[in-house]
C-alpha cells in the first residue's frame, strides 16, 4: 500500500469497538502486512502468523494508541516488530541491529554500465521483475525491512524511523545501502542486454 493513498479511519470508532470500522481497517492493511511478512520471512505460513499477530495486537492495544504517530505507522511498527521477532527466533545468528556489512567499502559502486536507457520492455520484463524480487529477498534483513517500508510501502523516512525505532540518519544509511546493493545486481543483470545492444 502506498501510504499516500491510505484511507482514513475513525480512531474513536475503533476505540469504541466498532466492528465495521475494524473490518475496514483489516481489509485495508492486510495485503501490505501480509506482503511485508512474506518479503521478510519468505514463507506463507510465517507471513500469515505476522498478519494474525499484528491485528490481534492492534485490537488489544487500540485503546492505548496515543496518536503520537499516524495509525498507519503504528500498525507497520507492530507488524515489523512481529516479523523481526520471528526472524530472531528462527535465525538467532542474524544481527538485525547492524547496518548490513562491516564497512562502507562493501557498498561502494563498482558497476558503471549505463543501463538506465534500455527499452521499457527489457527493463520491465517478467524475467527482470522476478530477478529484482529475488534480489530484494536476498538483501540483509536489517536493510530489507527499511527498504520494504520506505520504497515499497511508501512510508516517509520519518515514518520508517518511527516504525522501526531507528534514527532518521540510520534509516537513510540503510536505505542507501539497500538501493546501491540492488543497483549493483541490476547492473550485472542488465549489463548483458546493454552490451548486446551496443554490439549490434
Amino acid at each position: 500500500m502506498n501510504v499516500q493513498l491510505q484511507p482514513s479511519f475513525s480512531i474513536e470508532a475503533l476505540r469504541s469497538g466498532d466492528r465495521d470500522e475494524f473490518t475496514r481497517l483489516v481489509d485495508a492493511y492486510s495485503g501490505p502486512i501480509y506482503g511485508l511478512g512474506l518479503r521478510m520471512l519468505r514463507r506463507e505460513q510465517d507471513a500469515e502468523d505476522v498478519l494474525q499477530n499484528t491485528f490481534v495486537k492492534v485490537l488489544q492495544n487500540i485503546q492505548g494508541f496515543e496518536e503520537r504517530s499516524s495509525l498507519s505507522t503504528w500498525i507497520y511498527r507492530i507488524a515489523a516488530n512481529e516479523a523481526l521477532m520471528m526472524l530472531r527466533k528462527m535465525r538467532p545468528e542474524v544481527n538485525l541491529d547492524d547496518q548490513g556489512a562491516d564497512g562502507d567499502e562493501d557498498f561502494m559502486p563498482v558497476q558503471f554500465v549505463d543501463w538506465g536507457a534500455l527499452p521499457e520492455e527489457t527493463l520491465e520484463s517478467g524475467e527482470a521483475k522476478a530477478y529484482l524480487e529475488r534480489a530484494i529477498e536476498a538483501l540483509p534483513e536489517s536493510l530489507r525491512v527499511v527498504f520494504i517500508l520506505r520504497d515499497m510501502e511508501g512510508l516517509s523516512i520519518k515514518e520508517t524511523s518511527e516504525a522501526l525505532n531507528l534514527t532518521e540518519t540510520n534509516v537513510k544509511t540503510r536505505l542507501l545501502r539497500a538501493r546501491l546493493n540492488l543497483r549493483e545486481k541490476l547492473s550485472v543483470y542488465f549489463g548483458e542486454q546493454y552490451f548486446k545492444g551496443v554490439e549490434k
Partner: protein, 93 residues
C-alpha cells in the same frame, strides 16, 4: 568508484547525499552541487541515473496492491472474531 573531486564535491560526499537527492529532499544548493558534479563525472552520473531507475523499477513491480488469499483472510477473521463480517469483503484501494 574512485574518489576524486569535481567542483567542490567528492564522489564519496555525493554518495552520502544520494538518498535525500533521489527522494527530492535536498536543498537547492546541494542539488546544484550534485548536478555540477555529475555533469563532469560519468561514473557518478551512471550511479545516480541507475539508482533512480532501480527505485522506479521497484515501484513498477509493486504498483498493484497485494491481496491476501481468501483462505488466509478467512482464518484471520476467525482469529479476530469477525467471522460475521468476513463475508462482505471490501476492496481496499
Amino acid at each position: 568508484m574512485t574518489d576524486h573531486t569535481h567542483n567542490t564535491l567528492t564522489c564519496d560526499q555525493l554518495l552520502g547525499m544520494l538518498t535525500d537527492y533521489l527522494d527530492g529532499q535536498s536543498r537547492d544548493e546541494i542539488c546544484h552541487e550534485i548536478e555540477a558534479h555529475i555533469s563532469e563525472c560519468n561514473n557518478c552520473r551512471v550511479v545516480v541515473d541507475t539508482t533512480r531507475r532501480t527505485i522506479s523499477l521497484v515501484h513498477a513491480c509493486n504498483d498493484k496492491p497485494l491481496s491476501i488469499p481468501e483462505d488466509v483472510r478467512e482464518r484471520l477473521f476467525q482469529r479476530l472474531n469477525l467471522d460475521d463480517h468476513g463475508a462482505s469483503k471490501s476492496n481496499p484501494s
